[in-house]
């Protein structure tokens, strides 16, 4: 059982405690990604709406050009009123989420009170910064953090960069290879005071459009029944949106897209220019 002198006591900081016990992360000394194919997780998005925030992430993980996993999850509860979504090297990212969740719980148990939402966001920023040596060796992790700030009664979003820079966003945040594509979709349609329904639909559309353009982002897999993980965080806490509900919304989205003029979207290429069958 760990006991410390008052001068060495790590306080409520679990990461420091784990490090003192020899369980801290070790950065590789050479670039891993150049030598081995590392599994990467891609597009995640978070949107603020009237009651809080919605977070969403596709389910694909890739190693180079190979789909290494079709059903990984990238959106996790951090604690009751916040969530974290990951993009980047999947292994270190999962480890970071696990450590972050534990960090918040550990703080709460040791101190007997919760960190503020901003305190949680800063914690995650420190973890991203601590990962910088590993990021330089090809193991970058860039999460987004969102939660319901119970003291201010509003949803809040935080985006990070690879150095641990923490940027609070007012309306939406994205990360991953398809993040900027998804972000453009959200930017076009975002307005103040979205309802839960609209926010979930917007997240679905954003992920669909990102998957349409980015090979590392997975679209809805209707054959296997694999859909993005979507969760809402409100004053009632973190809550996953039901898979059946998401499937239903995708059907709606596909119907709407295919009923556009001309029986569908513009064909991307035409074989006729090559003088094919007449």
């Amino acid at each position: 059982m760990p006991f410390f002198n008052p001068s060495e006591d790590p306080g409520p900081d679990f990461a420091a405690l784990a490090k003192m016990q020899g369980l801290g992360p070790v950065a590789p000394s050479a670039n891993v990604d150049e030598r081995l194919s590392i599994t990467h997780a891609t597009t995640v998005v978070a949107i603020r709406y009237a009651d809080g925030v919605v977070m969403a992430g596709d389910r694909r993980a890739t190693s180079g050009h190979i789909i290494s996993h079709r059903a990984i999850e990238k959106v996790f509860p951090a604690d009751r009123h916040s969530g974290v979504a990951i993009a980047g090297a999947a292994g270190p990212a999962m480890e970071m989420v696990k450590l972050f969740q534990l960090q918040l719980e550990h703080y709460e148990k040791v101190e007997g009170s919760q960190l503020s939402l901003e305190g949680k966001a800063n914690q995650l920023g420190q973890m991203v910064r601590n990962n910088l040596p590993a990021a330089m060796q090809g193991l970058a992790v860039v999460p987004i953090f969102a939660g319901f700030d119970t003291r201010r009664a509003t949803g809040r979003l935080f985006q990070y960069d690879i150095t641990g820079g923490r940027y609070e966003e007012s309306n939406f945040a994205t990360s991953g290879s398809g993040g900027s594509l998804a972000g453009s979709v959200v930017k076009m349609r975002f307005r103040e005071g979205l309802t839960r329904d609209d926010a979930v639909d917007l997240a679905i559309t954003a992920l669909f459009e990102a998957a349409d353009e980015d090979s590392a982002t997975g679209g809805p897999d209707m054959v296997r029944g694999i859909y993005p993980v979507i969760a809402t965080i409100t004053s009632d806490g973190f809550e996953r949106v039901d898979d059946a509900d998401i499937a239903q919304r995708f059907v709606g989205l596909l119907d709407a897209l295919s009923s556009l003029d001309g029986g569908g979207r513009l064909p991307e290429t035409s074989t006729e220019t090559f003088g094919g069958a007449r």
Binding site: M1, F14, L23, L102, H106
Partner: protein, 227 residues
């Protein structure tokens, strides 16, 4: 030349035990008991900030009586041990028995080797999936571990409170009923305790993950018998 005094080891141990017992007896007692939906822990504690009962892990709670700074140090060490174990192995691998044994080792070590024994008595309680799987490890200032069932009482007045509980306690009471029984036993025939004297927490058997729930003082009157 002065001769060093010889003190028999029996006498040393007895003196230390008396010292610890006296320290513990100065504080107020605490009851932990099974009820229909889990385990309830009721402490006599006028403070709302200095807690005697707290969460260690998903299904494990800690309670201590005696000297606050000493049992609080033990509490934090327990949280650390549990979180480290769950982090390096799995959450399922964290159990009350192992924690209880670690506490016993430390208390035993301090009792025999340090200047003064810890003036504490602690409880590690784990709620099981069925009431038969509930566990109470009651650990004394000298490292003695007692594996108890149904209910357990910590503190200087434990025997009298236990005897009162023995008469009124029944299995599968609901929360309100079990609190009434526990509070009456803590108070005894000559006193009455109300919400401002009590700290109450439960381990909820049906919880998904973190089973520990504090019943805040503001909601406590709803669960206590009306006078």
């Amino acid at each position: 030349m002065s001769m060093p005094y010889y003190v028999a080891p029996e006498q040393v141990m007895k003196d230390r035990a008396d010292y610890a017992r006296k320290g513990i007896a100065r504080g107020r007692s605490l009851v932990a008991t099974q009820f229909a939906d889990g385990i309830a822990i009721v402490a006599e504690n006028p403070s709302t900030t200095l807690r005697k009962v707290s969460e260690i892990y998903d299904r494990i709670a800690f309670a201590g009586v005696g000297k606050y700074n000493e049992f609080d140090q033990l509490r934090i060490a327990g949280v650390r041990a549990a979180d480290l174990k769950g982090f390096s192995y799995s959450r399922e691998d964290v159990d009350a028995r192992s924690l209880g044994n670690q506490y016993a080792q430390i208390l035993g070590q301090v009792f025999t080797h340090e200047m003064k024994p810890m003036e504490v008595e602690i409880l590690v309680a784990e709620v099981g999936l069925t009431s038969a799987d509930d566990q109470f490890f009651h650990i004394l200032y000298d490292g003695t571990v007692m594996d108890e069932d149904r209910f357990t009482v910590l503190g200087g007045d434990a025997d009298a409170i236990s005897n009162r509980l023995e008469e009124t306690w029944a299995p599968e009471l609901d929360l309100q009923a079990v609190l009434a029984v526990a509070v009456a036993a803590l108070a005894g025939p000559d006193r009455s305790l109300d919400a401002t004297d009590l700290e109450v927490a439960v381990l909820d058997r049906g919880a998904q993950r973190r089973a520990f729930r504090r019943i805040e003082r503001s909601e406590l009157p709803d669960f206590l018998p009306k006078n």
